[in-house]
Symmetry: C2
Subunit: 220 residues, 2 copies
Amino acid sequence: MPHRLVPQSVIKRLPIYLRVLDMLVQRDIDVISSKDLSEETGFTAEQIRKDLAYFGAFGTRGTGYHTEFLRDKILKIIGLDRKTKVIVVGAGHLGFAFTRYTITKNPYVNVVAAFDIDSSVVGSKILDLEVLPVSDMEQVVEKEEVKVAIMSVPAEQAQEVANKLIDAGIRAILNFAPVRLDYPEDVYIHNVDLTNELQSLIYYSTTEQEKIGRLSEEQE
Amino acid sequence: MPHRLVPQSVIKRLPIYLRVLDMLVQRDIDVISSKDLSEETGFTAEQIRKDLAYFGAFGTRGTGYHTEFLRDKILKIIGLDRKTKVIVVGAGHLGFAFTRYTITKNPYVNVVAAFDIDSSVVGSKILDLEVLPVSDMEQVVEKEEVKVAIMSVPAEQAQEVANKLIDAGIRAILNFAPVRLDYPEDVYIHNVDLTNELQSLIYYSTTEQEKIGRLSEEQE
DNA sequence: CTGTGTGAAGGAGTTCACAGCG
DNA sequence: CGCTGTGAACTCCTTCACACAG
């Protein structure tokens, strides 16, 4: 199974296929065609077949894909076949919400710990998970060999926290802080900036017509 | 100022430019070159110039861009020059966190109301904002002429809530529920699925080397 | 004869290279 | 002489078309 460079756009679609397949397995649907997967996901059937072809030939010609088999293949491809350990750094409102949601709704990951610097938050619980002081962070990451971190800390602290995480052995970070971080090439950081998402959404909340109207009201 | 189709990738970068320009204005830096903007944002200088060129010629040759001027241009392009009204539907942990963050940190939008269906949440406060029952939603959207909504409701309720929002006049929705929604063409919906983000991140937490090793351990 | 797997064509966006203005 | 603005080349991804397996 060769593993050339897979486009990022393909990787972003895998979890979407995964969710649909999970749903189909639960509904006892054994087989699905790329055409039907297309309906469920909104992507074209050709694209789905091409995406899967990056990793092998998982379908049966004339029939389609076996849902459970394909689901397990995708789990293996992403690396979710063994519950992936993750930690959360920053147990503010967002970190709390994300942690709670992940624990209850994401069966493929294992939130091993949550950390915060604020002593008023440390010691509180997210479901059964106690929030630990950041001073324990490096030790836990090293001992549990955690490779993935979710970082929801204030922008000012993000770089420092990221450095610590990377030093301790973290390889991938989901960063909610609105800053561009410096990091070595062998680490992967994905930024989720909700303010940016909202602002680009707002761009699309006015039609082309309205934009032309507004922009021609130039008065400077 | 012609307004042909601007690539989505360009629109996603505008808020990033905006944030950097805000920072520069605050530091009393009057002028910046595309090269220096490149350093700040991580995008190439050529790309930044091309992006801006979609909307006009805002720079001065031999000098660069006037920060405050460019900032105001981008605000106008996105549609943030008048505080954009938004509502939040679903005041669970995530909705609460997002609302709080937006009110305190995003000076360009105005959260006019938050709604929830759960009577134990209705009446509670997010900073000074009282959470209203969803039954008030349509009325507020129509009266205040809100065009943008943030939707952080359970997946099962998402389609129904979206339908109501669109009927009431909402034109753009930031959807945190992990479902693909049906909606008319003149509405814009942007999905933010944090579970997907985490899962594609996990793909990148193992190196190519490790993947090859793990995938060759096939035993079925 | 249905639906996958895939080379080939097409399209979208990024990088290159440089003309042209301040 | 520096840095913007932009056509042209290029790269990457998506769509098309079809060979081929079940």
